[in-house]
C-alpha cells in the first residue's frame, strides 16, 4: 500500500477540494457584492440600518429568534411563501450584505420575517407580540419575552408612556399595572420594523408572470408608454 505521505497529501487535497468549492468559490463570487442604487428612486439598497435597529439585531441574535423564524423567502415556484404574503419576491444574496451574521434561520416554527417591516408597521403590536404572544394567538408556541419589559403599577393620572397604553388595552390580566418596554424591546422592534427585502434590481426581478403587486403593474404600464 502507499506510504503515508501520498495518503495524507491526497486526503488533505480531497478535503481542500470541498473547501475550495463550497467555501472559497462563493466567497470569491459573492464576497464583492455591493449595494445597488435603485434607479427610479435613487435610494441605495440595502439601506444602512439605524443604530437602534443594529442594537435590535444583536438582541434578535442573542434571544435566538432565528431558531424558529427564517428570514429567507423562496420564489413562488418553490413554495407558498409569496402567496402567504411573506414577500413579493425571493430573497437573494445581496439582501443580506449588511447583515452580520445573516441569521437566515433554518426551520420555520413561526412565519418568515424577511419582510416583516413591510406587512407590520405597528410597533405596539410587535411589542405586544413579544410581551405576550398568547394575547394575539391563543396557545402560541412562541415564547414570551417578558424580561424585555418593566411591569409596574399604573400611576393614577394615567401613563406617560404612549406604548404602554396600547399594551395595556389588550392585556386583561394585567389591569391596574402598566407594561413599559425596556430599551432592548424598543431596539428589537425597530430592527423588526426595518426588515424589508422588497426592492427590485438585476437579479431580484421575479419572472414576468409572477409580478403581482399593483405598483409593479403600474410601473409596467409606465414603461409601456412611448
Amino acid at each position: 500500500m502507499t506510504s503515508r505521505y501520498p495518503f495524507l497529501l491526497f486526503f488533505a487535497l480531497a478535503i481542500a477540494a470541498s473547501w475550495l468549492v463550497v467555501v472559497v468559490w462563493p466567497h470569491l463570487q459573492l464576497g464583492g457584492l455591493e449595494p445597488v442604487t435603485i434607479e427610479e428612486t435613487g435610494v441605495v439598497y440595502p439601506p444602512i440600518r439605524s443604530g437602534e435597529a443594529l442594537v435590535g439585531a444583536e438582541i434578535y441574535r442573542s434571544l435566538g429568534c432565528q431558531y424558529c423564524h427564517t428570514r429567507q423567502v423562496r420564489p413562488s415556484t418553490m413554495g407558498a411563501d409569496i402567496a402567504r404574503g411573506w414577500g413579493r419576491r425571493r430573497t437573494v444574496a445581496r439582501d443580506y450584505i449588511r447583515d452580520q451574521p445573516p441569521m437566515l434561520g433554518s426551520v420555520r416554527f413561526g412565519p418568515d420575517l424577511a419582510n416583516l417591516g413591510c406587512r407590520e408597521t405597528n410597533a405596539a403590536a410587535l411589542l405586544l407580540r413579544l410581551y405576550k404572544p398568547s394575547a394575539i394567538v391563543p396557545l402560541s408556541t412562541m415564547p414570551s419575552y417578558r424580561h424585555l419589559f418593566h411591569v409596574r403599577p399604573a400611576p393614577a393620572g394615567g401613563s406617560e408612556w404612549r406604548n404602554s397604553l396600547a399594551l395595556r388595552m389588550n392585556l386583561s390580566s394585567d389591569q391596574g399595572s402598566e407594561v413599559i418596554p425596556r430599551a432592548e424591546a424598543r431596539a428589537l422592534v425597530s430592527y423588526l420594523l426595518s426588515l424589508k427585502a422588497d426592492e427590485l434590481f438585476l437579479e431580484a426581478y421575479p419572472r414576468e408572470d409572477l409580478q403581482t403587486t399593483n405598483s409593479a403593474r403600474g410601473m409596467d404600464k409606465a414603461r409601456a408608454l412611448p
Binding site: 434590481f201 437579479e203 419572472r207 403600474g218
Partner: protein, 212 residues
C-alpha cells in the same frame, strides 16, 4: 504489527490470525453494478449541473435559467423611460422645495409623498398645478400650507411634465402606485388652459374634476 492489531481487537482477535478466513476474493473488486451506477450517476450529475446551474453565474437564482434571461428581465429602456427621466427632472426642478424624500418642509412646502393631490384618481389637477403654479391656502395630509409654487409651463414641455408627474405618482419609495401620466393629457390641458396667466388656488382646483 499484526500483534498490535490483535491486541486492539481484544477478544475477537483470534479470527484474524488465519488468513484463509478473510475472503479477499469476493471483496477485492468493485461490483459491476456499483461501477455502472457510479458512471451513470456521474453522467447524470454532469448533465444535471450543466442544465440547472445557470452557467455558474452569481445572478441566476432560478433552476434552469441562464444569465441572459435574468438580464432580459430588467426593464430595458431605462434611460428613456418616463420613470427614469421623471426622476432626473424631479431632482432638478422639484426636489429643492418638496425634497428628495417627498415629505416637503413643514410650514413651507407641502409633501408630495402620500399627498391626496398626487394620488387623486386622475392627473387633471396636478397637471394644472405644475403648468401654472399654485398659491393660496392648501391642506395636504391635514396640514395647512400657504406659499406660492412657480409655474412650469415655460420651462418644461408636455413630455417632461408627464414624466415628472409619472414619477411622483408611481414612486414606489413613497408607496405610490397611481396611474401614470401621458404627454397627451398634458397637451390637452395646456391647450385648454392656454389663456391662464395666474396661479391656481386650491378652491379653483377643487372645482376641476379629478379625471375626465
Amino acid at each position: 504489527m499484526t500483534h498490535v492489531c490483535k491486541q486492539m481487537l481484544g477478544d475477537q482477535q483470534g479470527a484474524n490470525s488465519n488468513p484463509r478466513t478473510v475472503k479477499q476474493g469476493h471483496r477485492n473488486r468493485l461490483p459491476v453494478w456499483l461501477a455502472t451506477m457510479t458512471v451513470v450517476g456521474l453522467a447524470w450529475a454532469v448533465f444535471y449541473v450543466a442544465r440547472n446551474a445557470g452557467a455558474f453565474s452569481p445572478i441566476v437564482y432560478e433552476m434552469g435559467e441562464n444569465p441572459a434571461e435574468v438580464r432580459a428581465r430588467v426593464p430595458r429602456d431605462d434611460a428613456m423611460s418616463p420613470m427614469h427621466r421623471g426622476r432626473k427632472l424631479y431632482g432638478t426642478y422639484c426636489a429643492a422645495c418638496h425634497q428628495w424624500h417627498g415629505r416637503g418642509i413643514p410650514e413651507q412646502f407641502p409633501p408630495l409623498a402620500q399627498s391626496e393631490w398626487i394620488l387623486a384618481g386622475g392627473p387633471n389637477r396636478v397637471i394644472r398645478i405644475v403648468l401654472h403654479g399654485m398659491d393660496g391656502p392648501v391642506t395636504v395630509r391635514g396640514q395647512e400650507y400657504n406659499s406660492p409654487m412657480l409655474p412650469w409651463r415655460e420651462v418644461l414641455n408636455d413630455e417632461e411634465i408627464a414624466s415628472v408627474l409619472t414619477f411622483v405618482r408611481c414612486n414606489k419609495q413613497w408607496n405610490h402606485a397611481a396611474e401614470p401620466v401621458t404627454p397627451e393629457q398634458v397637451r390637452q390641458i395646456r391647450s385648454l388652459t392656454a389663456d391662464r396667466a395666474s396661479y391656481w388656488t386650491a378652491e379653483e382646483l377643487n372645482s376641476v374634476p379629478e379625471s375626465d
